[in-house]
């Protein structure tokens, strides 16, 4: 070693400038945050994607069904005598035709009724042996308000004493209530999963901070700022979260598409309304983005809080 040091560059411009890029990343040993973190995030993202898709599908289902049923009512003619039943049904149709609030009405044809009842009664039902009520589907111009229903009920009972009028939304109120509960459950699941993901990243960042305390202290004493050190952790966590987010999104989307196909195969009118629109797909696809942002924010806050305990 020579006695005279090499001509060192002039004094450094010692501004609080960024310490970033690959070189800054070397501050943490490779894989110091890797390990279970990307996989935990992948599982969380997959579950959140499924819960979000389920919540949105249920919301669409409820909204579609509510729109369809809120303006409808069903008139049943409960009369064992087929002739009398037909006559009363005809009189009901004539009476309802005079109501301006009624947009359309349609008597359900016998073959359609048979189809509806086939799962319970089998094919080729003898309407005399098993008296099936005549059904008239009534569509109002607006909603089937209690006032509308009261007025048409009064008019119908004058011409068809065996008639019964029910708002379609009334039948399905318990179903809507159940769907709403499932929606709240999906929201709660998304929130819980977000909290769990945050906690996982918090613990991982704390653990990495602990195992790299010596390195962090050295950089701190060399003039490294909290922001510089936090950025290194933030970037590492961001990389892990992105990796986990992509895997989770693929798994979650796969599950959602599979379930979607299964429900579509039920060929049920109500379930068919529970699809996802393009805005819903964007919302689902944003789950990993939000997760990455949340993870990076958590890492930053955790590391900065820990660094503040040093001078």
């Amino acid at each position: 070693m020579s006695e005279t040091p090499p001509t060192l560059r002039g004094r450094l411009k010692r501004g609080l400038v960024p310490f970033r890029g690959d070189r800054a990343n070397q501050l943490l040993p490779q894989g110091s945050l890797a390990g279970p973190v990307p996989w935990v995030i992948a599982i969380m993202v997959a579950l959140t994607v499924i819960a979000t898709a389920a919540g949105l599908a249920l919301s669409n289902l409820a909204s579609g069904a509510r729109d369809e049923l809120s303006g409808g009512a069903t008139v049943q003619i409960i009369q064992a005598d087929p002739g009398e039943r037909t006559r009363q049904a005809q009189r009901v149709e004539e009476a309802l035709a005079n109501f301006p609030e009624v947009a359309t009405l349609r008597q359900i044809p016998d073959d359609e009724l048979e189809q509806l009842l086939e799962p319970w009664l089998g094919a080729g039902v003898d309407s005399e042996a098993v008296p099936v009520p005549a059904l008239i589907d009534v569509r109002f111009r607006g909603e089937a308000t209690p006032d509308n229903l009261r007025r048409i009920r009064a008019a119908i009972l004058q011409v068809a004493p065996d008639a019964r009028v029910d708002a379609q939304s009334t039948w399905l109120r318990p179903v809507f209530s159940a769907i709403a509960s499932l929606q709240y459950l999906a929201i709660a699941l998304v929130v819980l999963l977000a909290i769990t993901s945050t906690a996982a990243v918090f613990l991982a960042a704390r653990s990495a901070l602990g195992s790299n305390r010596e390195t962090i202290e050295i950089v701190h004493l060399l003039g490294g700022t909290d922001t510089q050190i936090a950025r290194v952790f933030q970037r590492t966590v961001g990389f892990d979260a992105t990796l986990g987010g992509i895997v989770g999104l693929v798994l979650g989307m796969g599950a959602v598409l599979f379930l979607g196909q299964r429900f579509a195969a039920l060929d049920n009118g109500m379930v068919g309304g529970g699809g996802l629109g393009w805005l819903d797909w964007i919302a689902v696809a944003s789950v990993p983005l939000i997760t990455v942002a949340l993870a990076m924010l958590t890492a930053r806050v955790t590391v900065v809080a820990a660094l503040r305990r040093m001078l």
Partner: protein, 243 residues
């Protein structure tokens, strides 16, 4: 007073205690002048390392005033301290090299932390590696370096940014006498370039090797300054053309 004569560090009645224990440093007052060379001596447990910790801003004192480069660093917000740390070079007693980084990257660290562009990092780091005789060990991790080699890397890291103040804690503790003298020559060379040097040591033989040095002697946490030289030293001419 010309700008070059402004004091680098001033301690005024500084005391330090850890937690609720007794004071490990009491009523410490001194001034470090630019381009001066100081030996900090004292028996083990006298408070040398604690004093150095205050100097390299790893610790706040329990009382007293510390001014660094004209600023009271006790009341300075935490966020402003890195700017002051970047003007210091520290050789730790246990070297404190980053274990997963090569010798090259350890030496480059202060430049990178200070935001020097990567293109401007290579030459000074390579020069420093050659200067400390470790060019052939540039890619070696600290664990594979001998104690003396680690010490040279630590010294290179401390001086790479041409600090205003170089603080060295027992820098000759792990090297043979020949290497100890070489290290002192290195510190002297830096000192000639205008850097204020403080070397903490309990090796009294070293003190005679640097004739122009001043002695700061700690005894049970108190600084001996019977003549007041440390507090009010006579003005001395700093090296010209330091930069």
């Amino acid at each position: 007073m010309s700008k070059g004569d402004e004091e680098v560090v001033t301690f005024d009645n500084v005391g330090l205690r850890y937690g609720t224990g007794k004071e490990v440093l009491s009523d410490v007052s001194f001034t470090l002048w630019p381009g001066s060379f100081y030996f900090l001596t004292g028996a083990s447990g006298a408070g040398k390392t604690s004093l150095l910790k205050l100097l390299y801003l790893a610790q706040r004192p329990s009382r007293g005033v510390i001014r660094m480069f004209g600023t009271d660093v006790i009341t300075l917000p935490r966020a402003s301290l890195p700017n002051y740390r970047r003007r210091l070079g520290v050789v730790f007693q246990d070297f404190r090299l980053v274990p997963h980084m090569s010798a090259y990257d350890n030496i480059a660290l202060p430049l990178r932390v200070s935001g020097v562009p990567e293109a401007e990092v290579t030459k000074p780091v390579t020069d420093m590696l050659e200067w400390v005789g470790l060019a052939h060990r540039a890619e070696a991790r600290p664990a594979t370096l001998s104690g003396g080699e680690q010490q040279r890397v630590a010294i290179a890291r401390a001086v790479i940014g041409r600090p205003d103040v170089l603080l060295a804690d027992e820098p000759t503790g792990n090297v043979d006498p020949d290497m100890a003298v070489k290290l002192l020559r290195l510190f002297e060379a830096l000192n000639r370039l205008g850097t204020t040097v403080v070397v903490a040591t309990h090796d009294l033989h070293l003190l005679q090797k640097v004739p122009q040095s001043m002695i700061m002697r700690l005894d049970k946490g108190r600084l001996s300054d019977p003549t007041g030289m440390l507090r009010n030293p006579p003005r001395r001419q700093t090296s010209e053309g330091a930069d």
